[in-house]
């Protein structure tokens, strides 16, 4: 499942969707939260953002032999402490689950049409985020 939404999400409820299969030995989740900020706003490109996330999800499932993968990203105005992104993956073994979740998060940072505006300024990608992507290719 891939979702772009304005509303908050519940990490516990999202994880439920990944469990209950006897082939699954490991679930790794990542939740991103808004750190101390005055104002944060997220923009996406409706249609393309979801399509790129869906393609990323398929890539991760194939590459790391995942059983399932869920990506949720919020857009619109956000407050300090708000959950902003959730990635959860299930796999038979823990190493694949960790790798799959890291792959998805690294790509969400700089390969998916999403843009952050903080205190009226559009953010620029960090050098670290750019090099994280290259490490997977």
């Amino acid at each position: 499942m891939v979702k772009v939404q304005r509303d908050p999400f519940d990490p516990g409820a999202l994880q439920q969707a990944l469990t209950g299969n006897e082939a699954v030995g490991a679930v790794v989740t990542f939740t991103g939260y808004v750190r101390q900020t005055d104002t944060l706003e997220l923009e996406h490109y409706p249609g393309m953002t979801e399509a790129v996330m869906d393609d990323l999800r398929s890539q991760a499932i194939t590459r790391f032999s995942l059983h399932g993968a869920v990506l949720v990203h919020r857009v619109g105005p956000l407050q300090t402490n708000d959950p902003i992104v959730w990635v959860g993956v299930s796999a038979p073994h823990r190493v694949d689950a960790f790798q799959g979740a890291m792959f998805l998060m690294d790509h969400l940072k700089s390969s998916v049409p999403l843009w952050k505006k903080e205190q009226g300024q559009w953010l620029r990608p960090s050098e670290h985020d750019k090099s994280s992507i290259e490490a997977w290719s």
């Binding site: 923009e43 490109y45 700089s110 998916v112 049409p113 999403l114 843009w115 952050k116």
Partner: protein, 76 residues
């Protein structure tokens, strides 16, 4: 000359002064040149998508294409 719809995302809306416009142009590069914002956008390493697929600035356009100009992405 094909008529195409340009879409400007995030910081590029400020550069273009609009979120959406229609022009007649053979390529994304020509469309931006016509609007006088080619150099300003190229300086910011734009990502170009035609009908929501990533392309380069010199792809041949067809009438009705949606050409999106996107700054480097900062999600997650």
């Amino acid at each position: 000359m094909p008529t195409v719809n340009l879409v400007f995302l995030a910081a590029f809306r400020d550069v273009a002064g609009t979120d959406r416009t229609t022009v007649e142009a053979a390529t994304p590069r020509a469309a931006l040149a016509q609007l006088g914002i080619l150099d300003a956008l190229v300086a910011q390493t734009p990502i170009v998508a035609v009908n929501q697929r990533i392309c380069d600035l010199d792809i041949a356009l067809s009438s009705g294409d949606e050409v999106a100009l996107m700054p480097p992405m900062t999600g997650g």
